[in-house]
Symmetry: C2
Subunit: 273 residues, 2 copies
C-alpha cells in the first residue's frame, strides 16, 4: 500500500468537476494521504506540455495520478503518458453519448457554462435576495422567495440558505425562531401566507449546545436544557403549521440542501457546475 | 438524431457529482433537449428497485439515460439494465484505483463527506464571515480575511465572495470602490495592511452599464460614461497598489472564483463536493 500519493486535476475550464470526481474516488481510501493540485484553464497543447513537465519534475520516482476532464483530444493526449496513472474522467463516454444520441458532440471545454448568461443573472439575484433576507430581514418580501428556512438560533439556516442561492439559484430567505415566537408556539401572522414554501430545520440538543457553546461558553443560551426546550418548541410549531422538517445533525450542507429541494419539489435541475 | 431525451442521476448520496458529470456530457449536445431528474439517497436495493420501476414506467418507448455514482455493486446493478442507457460514472475506476494504490476501497456512499466535521465548521464560519463583511462592513476585521475582493458597484463582488466562502471555505470580504475613493485614486488607510490579500474585479463599461441599468434605468449611475470613468479609476487604483485584477466579463462565478484562488495561491484543495 502507498502511504502518500500526488493527485492532479487537469481541466480546460475550472477543474471543479475533475476535482470533485477524483475526490469522490480517493475518499474511498482513507488510509492514504493524497496531495492534490488543480491545473485549471489548460486550453492549449503548449500549456498542457508545460504543465505535464512540471508534474513529472515534481514526481521524481513516484507515479502521480492525473485526472482530466479535457475534451479536446490533442490537449488530453499530452497527459496520457506511461509516466503517470492517467484517468480521463469521461474516457469513452462522449463517443458513447454520440452513438446513443445519433449526434456529434461539440468537444468544447466548459460548454456546460455556455448557458450561463441567463443562469448567472438568476444566481446573482438569488444570492442578493438571500443576503437581504437573512435572519428574518424584510419578511414583507417573502412572497418573492422560492424557499423559507425556519429554525432556532444556530440551527444552520444561513449556510444552507446561502448554498441553495449560490448552487441552485433559489431565492432563499431564513427566519429565526426566537423566544418571542417559541414561547407562544406561533409564527408571526405576516409570514403565514408563505407557509407552503417553508421548511424547518431541527437538530439534537447536544449538537446545538456544542455549537452555541463555541459562541457563548457556559451561557444559559448554550445549555442543554435551553437547547432541548427550544428544539421541542420549534418542532411543535412545525407540526402545528404542517411545515415539513429536516434533521440536520451530522449532515453536510449539501445533504440538507438536497433534502430541502426534494421535500419542497424544487428540483428544476439548474445546471450549475 | 433524438430531439428529446430523459436523463436520470442516481446516487447513494446527494447526486450532485452524478448530475454535474452528466451535465458536462449532455451540454456537449446543445441541439438536444434533455429532461433531467435526480434521485438522491438511493441506499437500499428495495429503494433502487422502486426508483427503477418509476423510471421505466415513465419511459414508455423511449430509452432513458441513467447516470449513477453508486459504489455499492448490489444497488448499482439494479439500474444496469438493457432497458436504459446505463452510465456508471466511476465504472472500473474504483478497481483501477485499488490496483494502483494497493489498497481496498471502502465502497461506502458519500464517503467524501466523512471528513466534513472539521470542514463543515470551517465553511459555516466562512459563510458567516462573508455575510458580516459584505460591501465594506467591518473593515477593522480584515486581518481575519483569507481574501478581500475590490470593485465598483455591481462588478460582481458579492456573488463571487459568497461562492468562495460556501464552496471553498475561504473567509471572503468585499469592499466597494465608491466615488469617495475613486475620485482621489486612494484606498482608505485602515485596509492597506491587508493589501496582499486583495484582488480587484474589473469588467467592460458596456457590461457594467447593462447590469446597472436593470437596477436604475436611464440613470447617470448606469450611463456608459459613468461606468467607463469608474472602471478606469478602479483599474488605476489596482495598479497603484499592485493589486492583481480579474476581468469578469462573460465569465461564470466559478471561473472568476477559480482565477482568484490561483492568482492569490489559495488552492489548499478543500474537499467540498
Amino acid at each position: 500500500m502507498w502511504s502518500v500519493k500526488d493527485v492532479y486535476y487537469i481541466s480546460g475550464s475550472t477543474g471543479i468537476l475533475a476535482a470533485n470526481y477524483g475526490q469522490a474516488l480517493i475518499s474511498q481510501f482513507p488510509e492514504i494521504a493524497f496531495n492534490e493540485k488543480t491545473f485549471p484553464f489548460i486550453n492549449s497543447v503548449g500549456l498542457a506540455k508545460k504543465t505535464m513537465k512540471k508534474i513529472l519534475e515534481y514526481a521524481g520516482a513516484r507515479r502521480p495520478i492525473v485526472f482530466t476532464s479535457l475534451v479536446d483530444p490533442k490537449i488530453r493526449d499530452v497527459f496520457d503518458s506511461t509516466e503517470v496513472e492517467f484517468i480521463d474522467i469521461f474516457e469513452s463516454r462522449l463517443s458513447f453519448m454520440e452513438d446513443i444520441l445519433e449526434c456529434k458532440a461539440l468537444r468544447i471545454a466548459g460548454s456546460s457554462r455556455q448557458a450561463d448568461t441567463v443562469m448567472l443573472r438568476e444566481r446573482v439575484e438569488a444570492i442578493h435576495y438571500c443576503l437581504e433576507h437573512d435572519d428574518g430581514l424584510k419578511t414583507n418580501q417573502y412572497n418573492q422567495a422560492d424557499v423559507i428556512i425556519l429554525g432556532v438560533s444556530r440551527a444552520g439556516k444561513t449556510p444552507v440558505s446561502v448554498y441553495l442561492a449560490t448552487q441552485r439559484g433559489l431565492k432563499t430567505a431564513n427566519f429565526p425562531l426566537t423566544s418571542e415566537y417559541l414561547g407562544i408556539y406561533k409564527l408571526p401572522d405576516n409570514i403565514l401566507p408563505s407557509r407552503m414554501k417553508m421548511i424547518g430545520l431541527t437538530t439534537t440538543p447536544q449538537f446545538l449546545s456544542n455549537i452555541r457553546d463555541k459562541r457563548y461558553p457556559g451561557s444559559t443560551y448554550s445549555s442543554i436544557a435551553t437547547c432541548r426546550e427550544e428544539i421541542k418548541q420549534a418542532e411543535q410549531i412545525y407540526q402545528q403549521y404542517k411545515i415539513p422538517s429536516i434533521h440536520a445533525t451530522g449532515q453536510s450542507i449539501e445533504e440538507v440542501a438536497t433534502q430541502i429541494v426534494h421535500e419542497l419539489d424544487l428540483s428544476n435541475q439548474k445546471r450549475f457546475l
